[in-house]
């Protein structure tokens, strides 16, 4: 009885919370986009447009479902379901801290699957399954633009998984575990968030995470400018809604990972310090801190969406293979050297070395590697 009751409650909570969060993130995104373009955004449904997500949801459900002629029916229907399932499943190992309901009781881990040894790897594995929805949707639609979107996404997501994995190894080295709880605890105990210690890894992770979530500077799989809607061009009504949901779930996952790996998770000096016994109040404060940090990261992603130009496809691939992977390797080298030769408590020297590496890379990029030169030197079919 109790064996399955506790995970079930957690699953229901997390799924409902993420669905609601996605619905309102869409509103936030539209508001932020509007404000940056001197507009007001949705403000008709309810005060400040607060009921807009409900109206959007009703619209998604009530609109006409279309399956294009010549589409592969089975795969066309499976694609949105699979991408949404993969995006939701990734939340199984994301920790929200823990709770001691009464003094002396066993602590309750606020995670669906606590004590999973490979928490981070699990998220990556499930995240890598999200490609299937995109590829299937693109292929099954029987549409050239959709197929192009699917092809682009398969190459892009597979390429950016490599720098994503590389950037995380530094964090694993310093924390000594793949479990997300342990990674947060390591940051909370040391008082240093890993982004200050490994700025290069943080940069690579943010860029690759943005690409994995197909956010706007890297939105080549769907790019409205060239491919109409990319892989979801032919999708209507709730099936399109599932794709949109999954997209925002990916965004939330990336934001959670960024916060957990580099920004200290639930830890905040003074407000939510490291302590073993956490009562109801402490647990709620931690969840709040975690979620506010996550929201800030998401807002940053929305900010860069409207600020920076998009990449061309060859530039995208060049950034993955010629910039991000070398940067990830440099970060790994610095971290490995620090871990081997420095005192485990000596985080100041590590941070100084990390920022020196950033400075060196920036200086190298400025002096030796500007776009014109690399294009001339690039070998290959002319």
């Amino acid at each position: 009885m109790q064996v399955w009751l506790e995970p079930l409650i957690k699953i229901v909570l997390v799924v409902l919370a993420t669905q609601a969060a996605v619905a309102y993130l869409v509103l936030v995104e539209r508001k932020v986009a509007a404000y940056m373009q001197d507009r007001l955004g949705p403000n008709r449904v309810g005060p400040w447009g607060l009921f807009q997500p409900i109206a959007d949801g009703a619209k998604f459900i009530l609109k006409e479902e279309l399956i294009p002629a010549g589409a592969d029916r089975a795969l066309f229907l499976i694609a949105p379901v699979s991408i949404l399932a993969a995006a939701t499943l990734a939340f199984a190992t994301i920790p929200f801290g823990y709770l001691v309901p009464w003094p002396g009781a066993d602590p309750i881990e606020l995670t669906i699957a606590p004590k999973v040894d490979i928490g981070l790897l699990f998220v990556f594995a499930i995240g890598s399954l999200g490609v299937y929805g995109v590829i299937l949707g693109g292929w099954a639609s029987n549409n050239k633009y959709s197929l192009l979107g699917g092809l682009r996404s398969s190459a892009q997501l597979v390429s950016y998984e490599i720098p994503l994995g590389l950037s995380v190894i530094g964090v694993l080295l310093f924390s000594g575990s793949l479990r997300l709880e342990t990674i947060i605890t390591a940051q909370a105990q040391s008082g240093w968030w890993w982004f200050a210690v490994q700025p290069l890894g943080f940069l690579v992770f943010m860029v690759s995470g943005c690409a994995e979530a197909s956010r706007l500077p890297f939105d080549l799989p769907e790019c409205e400018q060239e491919l109409v809607g990319g892989y979801h061009t032919e999708y209507t009504a709730m099936k399109f809604g599932m794709f949109a949901f999954a997209e925002y779930l990916h965004l939330i996952t990336v934001a959670f990972l960024t916060v957990n790996l580099y920004l200290g998770g639930w830890h905040l000096w003074g407000l939510a310090p490291y302590a073993d016994e956490v009562g109801w109040f402490g647990a709620i404060v931690r969840v709040l801190v975690l979620n506010i940090k996550m929201l800030l990261v998401i807002l940053f992603f929305m900010w860069i969406r409207w600020s920076w130009p998009r990449f061309r496809y060859d530039q995208l691939m060049n950034i993955a293979w010629k910039v991000m992977i070398p940067l990830g390797v440099i970060n790994l080298l610095v971290c490995a050297v620090c871990q081997e030769f420095l005192d485990p408590k000596n985080y100041l020297t590590r941070a100084v070395l990390g920022w020196l590496a950033v400075g060196g890379c920036v200086l190298y990029a400025a002096l030796f590697a500007h776009p014109g030169k690399t294009r001339l030197k690039a070998p290959g079919i002319t």
Partner: protein, 189 residues
């Protein structure tokens, strides 16, 4: 045009300075620009008007080309004399007039039916230009909506009611000679 044509002027890309090659300054420029706009709108200094509550104000409503109206004269009769000049001038062929013998002494004909298909109309204002008696005019009503195609085909009564609706705000552009005395103004010249 051939790629080696003399008419093409090739422009080299501007050289990036050190700051440009650091990539940092352009990125920060972009971020600060959007942030400036964000906070300006957030302070309430945007440009948006709340449309249905706040009606837009035209500098001069008399030169706006919106929904048509059929003007009435002082006795409340339709001013139109069924001369078909507007229907002839219309490039979209959206005006359909059936004229008959006029019951009034001051003119020979009047429109038995006067139908404008507002969906075909391109709001060019040629009918207004062509009308010799200033009977047809374009008003400043711009939010023309309807639930069916039939609803958007305006007949004489509807066009006259548009006049009743807008005559206070937008007076007739030219009174012209009084319709009840003398020959129709179209025959003056």
């Amino acid at each position: 045009m051939q790629p080696d044509s003399k008419q093409i002027k090739w422009v080299d890309e501007p050289k990036l300075g050190l700051a440009g090659r650091l990539y940092l300054t352009p990125l920060i420029d972009g971020l600060s620009l959007t942030a400036r706009h964000f906070f300006r709108t957030a302070r309430g200094e945007g440009f948006t008007r709340q449309f249905p509550e706040e009606r837009p104000l035209f500098g001069n409503p008399l030169i706006y080309r919106g929904v048509h109206r059929l003007n009435k004269d002082e006795q409340g009769r339709v001013k139109c004399v069924a001369c078909f000049l507007c229907a002839t001038a219309c490039p979209a062929h959206c005006i359909d007039i059936i004229g008959t013998e006029s019951p009034w002494a001051d003119r020979e004909k009047y429109p038995q039916s006067f139908v404008i298909d507002e969906l075909r109309c391109i709001f060019c204002g040629m009918c207004e230009e062509a009308c010799p008696v200033d009977a047809i005019e374009l008003t400043s009503l711009f939010d023309l909506t309807g639930a069916s195609r039939e609803e958007m085909v305006f007949d004489k009564e509807k066009l006259l009611s548009v006049y009743d609706q807008t005559c206070d705000l937008e007076p007739m552009r030219s009174r012209g000679p009084a319709a009840h005395s003398g020959p129709p103004p179209g025959k003056d010249h």
